[in-house]
């Protein structure tokens, strides 16, 4: 039987990264995610799996280290929190443009600017609508438990490599800082050079005699060719939207009203659903697990069943726009949020539901 551990979400990310066979982690301290690098440094995986862990001089340096590592076909990752992610966006855009896989963790805090170190989900737009420059998309996974923090490292890498695209684990201060039970994934071997050459033939591993040269770049000055590149990216994004949508339904079957929430908000909404049902309100929760691709089809399906939807987010109303696009006016969609690092309590959600929809 696997051992059940008790740890913080941030620690779970670090342990899962080592166990996945990650080749490299590059980071820079920022609250509330510093435990990720601290755990890696304490575990010293370079002595066991050979994983490289480096504290960079800045977030900008860290994401460019990831760019370098990913270019050589390695499993590399970085983590930060909102202000640090803003610094990484240039690098993330370059990676999307060069079609490089990697995992980026954002343990969100309140903004804009330095904002607060308290939990927030205000980087939804930044993550799913681009953030950096150019027409690109970031595969975005939103964990709602310490277990998912651990599990999404592997899922993130698997998706990133399947589609040659960066993947983001979009967590927040609550999921990063809370401790709960977790079963860590089994250890996997790191990829060998032969495996990398076979699985990622685009990677720079040195030009073998019988092979063509590999160049990793996002630059293409010929507009016709750049358009072709863009079309290839877009076709890939459509395919991801077709096949990689993930979500969870909680008490939705007979629901008259639906909460839509991701990450820690979904946890608090689960409690709100329990309280509402004690109160005789048939409330359900739909939790997007992938924020991009967004689960718009299932949300559209529910638009004919329920009388209203409440998008519950720790921000001023971001995901609610995607919910409204998904239902296309068929049902009333409202938003409830708290800002600045304040976290709503379950009863505040019920009150908002009654005020806005009932």
């Amino acid at each position: 039987m696997e051992e059940i551990k008790l740890m913080k979400g941030n620690e779970a990310i670090a342990h899962a990264a080592i166990r996945y066979g990650t080749d490299g982690y590059f980071g820079y301290p920022i609250t509330p995610q510093s435990e990720i690098m601290e755990t890696l440094m304490a575990e010293m995986p370079w002595k066991t799996t050979g994983m490289v862990v480096l504290q960079a001089e800045s977030e900008v340096a860290a994401i460019n280290m990831v760019y370098g590592g990913a270019a050589s076909g390695k499993r590399v990752m970085t983590s930060s929190s909102s202000p640090g992610i803003s610094l990484k966006l240039e690098g993330i855009s370059y990676m999307a443009g060069a079609e490089l896989p990697c995992v980026i963790v954002n343990v969100m805090r309140g903004g804009p600017g330095l904002g607060t170190i308290q939990p927030s989900q205000a980087d939804y737009f930044q993550t799913v609508k681009g953030g950096g420059h150019g027409d690109y998309r970031l595969i975005t996974l939103a964990p709602y438990s310490v277990q998912e923090m651990a599990d999404f490292v592997a899922l993130g890498f698997d998706l990133a490599f399947a589609y040659s695209n960066p993947a983001m684990i979009l967590a927040d201060g609550i999921i990063g800082q809370m401790m709960e039970k977790v079963i860590l994934p089994p250890f996997r071997q790191r990829k060998t050079e032969a495996e990398i050459r076979h699985e990622s033939p685009w990677a720079v591993q040195g030009k073998l005699k019988d092979k063509k040269v590999n160049v990793i770049t996002s630059l293409e000055l010929d507009p016709a060719l750049m358009e072709k590149n863009n079309n290839r990216f877009q076709a890939k994004y459509r395919q991801i939207e077709e096949t990689e949508v993930r979500y969870e339904e909680y008490n939705c079957q007979d629901a008259e009203y639906l909460l839509i929430a991701f990450g820690s908000s979904a946890r608090i909404c689960m409690k709100a659903v329990e309280l509402a049902r004690e109160d005789g309100i048939r409330l359900g929760l739909l939790r997007p697990i992938t924020l991009w691709p967004f689960p718009k089809k299932i949300i559209e399906t529910y638009s004919t069943q329920v009388k209203g939807m409440l998008s519950v987010e720790l921000n001023a109303g971001q995901m609610v726009e995607d919910v409204r696009l998904a239902v296309n006016g068929k049902v009333k969609v409202e938003h409830f949020g708290r800002l600045g690092g304040i976290v709503f309590t379950p009863d505040e959600i019920i009150t908002a539901l009654k005020e806005k929809l009932l």
Binding site: I4, L6, T31, P32, I117, Q118, G173, I174, Q177, M178, M179, E180, K181, S264, R267, I268, M270, K271, A272, E274, V343, T345, P346, D347
Partner: protein, 180 residues
């Protein structure tokens, strides 16, 4: 069984580590547990609190409106959390840190003079274990043997020699807690 607990006091009083030990003890009992700290820029001083949930069933929200038990270790925490104890719930405080009176009449109020006992034991670090002992006397939510197992899990190995001292403090806390 489900216990929703808040522990609140100054940073440095061992608030977070006491919560951690309680969470580990729950884990040893085979319960579902969650431990959600407040976190801030102040490394020492300032206020700190942690929400711990022990439950036989999966835990939904790690953030709560109200609590079965509030362990209150300073005045600002009393001001903040007294009103958030469920009716019929428990409020446990250290007499030393609380200057004002407790107003609630619909809850059970207990006092542990842990600061005094810790001073007597000449061991400031025993403070939070004295409080924990008091809590377990009033609500035996986890067995002492599992607390000791929890201590083993949550303390780094170099500190395992401190476990007997912690056990003494827990038992002392069980003796000195009294209903107000």
């Amino acid at each position: 069984m489900k216990q929703e607990i808040i522990i609140a006091g100054f940073g440095g009083q061992g608030v977070l580590s006491m919560g951690k030990i309680l969470a580990y003890s729950g884990l040893m009992e085979g319960m579902e547990v969650s431990w959600m700290p407040s976190y801030g820029p102040e490394q020492r001083g300032g206020t700190a609190n942690v929400t711990i949930i022990l439950s036989d069933n999966p835990i939904s929200s790690p953030i709560l409106n109200e609590y079965d038990v509030a362990i209150i270790l300073n005045q600002p925490s009393l001001d903040k959390f007294e009103s958030k104890v469920k009716p019929g719930g428990f409020l446990i405080y250290d007499g030393y840190g609380i200057h004002g009176a407790i107003r609630r009449k619909d809850i059970h109020v207990y006092r542990v003079d842990a600061m005094d006992a810790a001073t007597e034991m000449k061991n400031e670090k025993a403070f939070n274990m004295l409080i924990l002992g008091g809590l377990l006397k009033v609500i035996p939510m986890v067995k002492l043997e599992n607390v000791l197992k929890g201590l083993k899990k949550s303390l780094p190995e170099r500190h395992h020699k401190l476990i007997p001292m912690n056990e003494v403090a827990i038992k002392k806390g069980m003796e000195i807690i009294r209903e107000v």
